[in-house]
């Protein structure tokens, strides 16, 4: 059987070997076991259900709570030439949904958001078609103890609970704390699941947290590091404006960099990805909008100029470095008052009691929430969050929940700051945060353990020239590979 699996791995996916843990997980799935698989982010967890999909006779249903993640996985499957893949989410119109539902069994990979599973029509259809495997992606979202609790995910458990002779369930996550694991078992109604737990540590990523005196000093330090050490790299910053500013300033210093954020046209964002993948630029200066869907294995550096909003987001972002296994560097530059700024950014657009009152008042008077946005009384984020909670909870409960969530946001920033500033080893604390202990530390582990930068990353290479424009005739002939 292993031979066959290797054959499919090579023919369908183009890999000659499995990443740690993948083979064991796939074998358990093929033996009809329920599986809880813990893998570090970005280390090939989607292959664990994609490959069995080509062996199992029927559909694979993947529940994915993050829309961007879902879209990326659909795109990756399509890129491999897989046509039998469908994403079923709330962006579809009623009639599109119905059309797709009617022929749902024709699809091999069916992606669903958790709230879709609870819709009667979908539920009924899923009951009537043969399914080989159910996958709960980002399974920690089901736990109240997880850092990213999504109440809708609990209903997935209700659905699975109803289903007596259901197919095997595969739960995938990068969190291994006991509480989260227990919640996954209970809420997903898993039957004596086999656990496959990989170390969440990424030994080839080295951590540095460096204090600087001032904001201006920070930019100079970042510029120097980018100038001294090699890319490809990602520079994460907090605002669109800053991303544009940094990129502009670094271009004039001769760095091949482009900015990337959600304020740019979708096509522009794709262009930056293309340039990064084609090695036409060495750096991307981005907000946290960048990352999902960027499959580049040789990222050597990730730099932050701020405290990210949580330990989980931090490890997501730095986890984009070193997927090829080679040494990589994650550096965060901070000043003393950066924490306040991060808290401001995280809570600034988050609704409170006053917003709840505005929203309720408007609803009573029959005013559409969108009108409140155009009158600048509420932001779009306010409306999205308030509509979600107020359609499920009373006003008092909502106020309470919002208050708790706000405190949680602040606490999450304290947590990441604490790890980066006050720990004796950054690596150790990050791995502990996700419920594991580390076995050993690499040399040059982190800035707390002591590290020499030039051992980890090479100095930057002589720059080839930055983008140049071609004549339209040449551009057209290179697009179509015409020789004139």
């Amino acid at each position: 059987m292993t031979n066959n699996l290797h054959k499919i791995l090579f023919e369908k996916f183009g890999y000659s070997s499995f990443r740690p843990g993948q083979l064991e997980i796939i074998q358990s799935i093929l033996q009809q076991e329920d599986v809880v698989a813990i893998l570090p982010t970005g280390m090939g967890k989607s292959l664990c259900y994609q490959l069995p999909g080509y062996i199992l006779p029927h559909s694979v249903v993947i529940i994915s709570p993050l829309l961007a993640l879902m879209q990326d996985q659909v795109e990756q499957l399509k890129k491999m030439g897989e046509k039998r893949v469908i994403a079923f989410n709330s962006f579809l119109t009623q009639s599109e949904k119905q059309t797709l539902l009617n022929k749902l069994e024709q699809y091999k990979f069916i992606f669903l958001s958790p709230e879709m599973v609870t819709q009667e029509k979908v539920k009924e259809k899923l009951k009537s078609i043969p399914i080989s495997l159910i996958v709960a992606d980002e399974a920690h979202c089901i736990s109240q103890w997880g850092y990213d609790f999504r109440p809708d995910y609990l209903r997935l458990g209700e659905w699975l609970g109803d289903n007596m002779d259901r197919p095997p369930v595969l739960a995938l996550t990068a969190t291994a704390t006991k509480q989260v694991m227990d919640d996954i078992h209970t809420h997903l109604n898993m039957k004596k699941p086999t656990q496959h737990i990989q170390s969440l540590d990424r030994p080839n990523i080295r951590y540095a947290a460096i204090e600087v005196d001032s904001r201006e000093g920070k930019f100079d330090k970042i510029a120097k590091q980018i100038d001294d050490f090699t890319g490809p790299g990602i520079l994460y910053t907090q605002s669109r404006k800053k991303a544009d500013n940094y990129a502009q300033k670094l271009i004039t210093k001769g760095i091949r960099i482009a900015s990337y954020h959600a304020g740019m046209e979708q096509v522009d964002r794709m262009f930056v990805q293309q340039q990064f993948l084609n090695n036409e630029i060495d750096w991307v200066c981005a907000t946290n909008a960048f990352g999902m869907g960027v499959h580049k294995n040789d990222v050597r550096q990730v730099i932050h100029d701020h405290f990210p909003s949580s330990v989980a987001n931090y490890s997501q972002e730095i986890g984009r470095a070193g997927r090829d296994g080679a040494d990589s560097l994650a550096t965060l530059f901070y000043t003393k008052d950066d924490e306040d700024l991060s808290i401001f950014v995280a809570t600034n657009d988050f609704p409170d009691e006053a917003h709840v009152n505005v929203f309720m008042e408007a609803t009573r008077n029959g005013i559409q929430p969108t009108q409140l946005v155009s009158q600048s009384l509420l932001s779009e984020t306010h409306v999205r969050i308030l509509s979600y909670w107020l359609s499920r909870k009373t006003m008092e409960e909502t106020v309470k929940i919002l208050h708790q969530l706000r405190l949680q946001k602040i606490q999450q920033i304290h947590q990441i700051k604490d790890i980066l500033l006050n720990s004796t080893c950054i690596r150790e604390k990050i791995v502990q945060f996700f419920g594991q202990a580390i076995n050993s530390k690499p040399l040059n582990c982190c800035s707390k353990c002591g590290m020499e930068l030039d051992v980890i990353v090479e100095s930057s290479k002589a720059n080839s020239s930055y983008l140049t424009l071609q004549s339209w005739e040449n551009r057209l002939s290179s697009l179509f590979h015409m020789i004139d």
Binding site: K79, M80, M264, L467, S471, W472, R475, F480, H481
Partner: protein, 350 residues
């Protein structure tokens, strides 16, 4: 600068009869009765839907800068007025080959098709079909899939043909090198990355908005060229459905269909579940755009040509002023008259 000049041009045409938000709605391509009427009566067809995603915030910011520069004034009623300095700036404006009213934002759909077809063919030629589509819209995917199947793109020589048609079209005399530099670098393919607006702006040392205006103009010229050049075979199929065949908005078209089937305004209101004012907007739109539409039913026993002449003598298109001069007519009737009258002014000036 081009963008500011276009604003000045609009302000000038609007003749202090509209507020400063009128150009904003027009540029965004708002499909409301008022905006559509402005397009026609003030001859602003070029600029309709020039920037569908322009935010109010950036618009306000630009207007603010223009006031600071002393190019225009906005009075306490929000009515803009061009200054002497503004007129000088306006005089420097080049003539644009824009035709926003004809394409109504659909030129973007044409470009989406073009960019996905180009990306696909580029990868077909390189024998590597594993790529992430540059366009995300499923409708565009389906269209391109269908198109490529229809033209049997795998046939020997197809890509060459497609390439030659593009080259021929791009040689149109109305297109400048700048137009084509922009357009060709907004396309991408196998190992050929696209170039972002920011990067283009940096390298061409031109304001990003101005580049986007030139891009729009370029698409309009290309589409015109495609419809005129009878030797082209593939590109005309790529531009199917892009040009507006009915001058009406979709909603007005449905009202017009019901009206032509013999339904009254009241019946249409109840069939379509729309407010009276909305249906009236549709009739004004029909009066403006359909040469055969008659407004006689709204003026049972009057000489319409005579009333129109009287209105013209007032030398204003401001409804409130007209209502004071002709209190016997409803606002709806006055708008119908303006719509018809606007059209005859159109014919005189062109």
């Amino acid at each position: 600068m081009l963008f500011q000049q276009i604003i000045l041009h609009m302000v000038n045409r609007l003749n202090e009869e509209r507020t400063i938000s009128a150009p904003y709605h027009l540029i965004r391509g708002k499909r409301s009765g008022q905006t559509i009427q402005d397009v026609k009566s003030y001859h602003l067809t070029k600029y309709f839907a020039l920037f569908p995603r322009l935010t109010k915030q950036s618009y306000d910011q630009i207007i603010h800068q223009m006031i600071e520069s002393g190019w225009l004034r906005v009075n306490e009623l929000s009515i803009p007025q061009i200054t002497e300095l503004g007129e000088k700036v306006l005089n420097q404006m080049p003539t644009f080959h824009l035709n926003g009213w004809l394409y109504r934002g659909n030129e973007r759909i044409f470009f989406q098709r073009l960019s996905l077809v180009t990306q696909t063919l580029s990868h077909v030629k390189a024998n590597d079909l594993a790529f992430i589509p540059i366009q995300k819209d499923e409708k565009i995917h389906n269209w391109v899939r269908h198109f490529l199947k229809m033209v049997s793109y795998k046939n020997e020589g197809f890509i060459e043909e497609f390439y030659q048609e593009l080259k021929t079209t791009f040689q149109s005399a109305a297109l400048t090198d700048l137009h084509l530099t922009i357009l060709s670098h907004r396309l991408s393919g196998y190992q050929v990355s696209g170039v972002t607006w920011q990067q283009l702006s940096h390298m061409l040392e031109t304001d990003q908005m101005d580049l986007e205006i030139l891009f729009q103009e370029c698409l309009h010229i290309v589409l015109d060229e495609i419809s005129l050049n009878t030797k082209l075979i593939l590109l005309p199929r790529m531009s199917e459905g892009i040009k507006t065949t009915t001058p009406l908005t979709e909603s007005a078209k449905r009202t017009a269909d019901l009206y032509n089937q013999g339904h009254s305004i009241e019946q249409i209101m109840s069939i379509r579940q729309l407010k009276k004012s909305t249906i009236e907007d549709h009739f004004v739109e029909m009066a403006m755009n359909e040469p055969l539409f008659s407004i006689h039913m709204f003026f049972p026993c009057e000489d319409i040509q005579h009333i129109i002449q009287q209105i013209k003598n007032q030398q204003t298109k401001k409804l409130r002023t007209l209502k004071e001069a002709f209190p016997a007519y409803s606002y709806f009737q006055l708008r119908l008259l303006l719509a018809i009258g606007g059209d005859s002014i159109d014919q005189q000036s062109t």
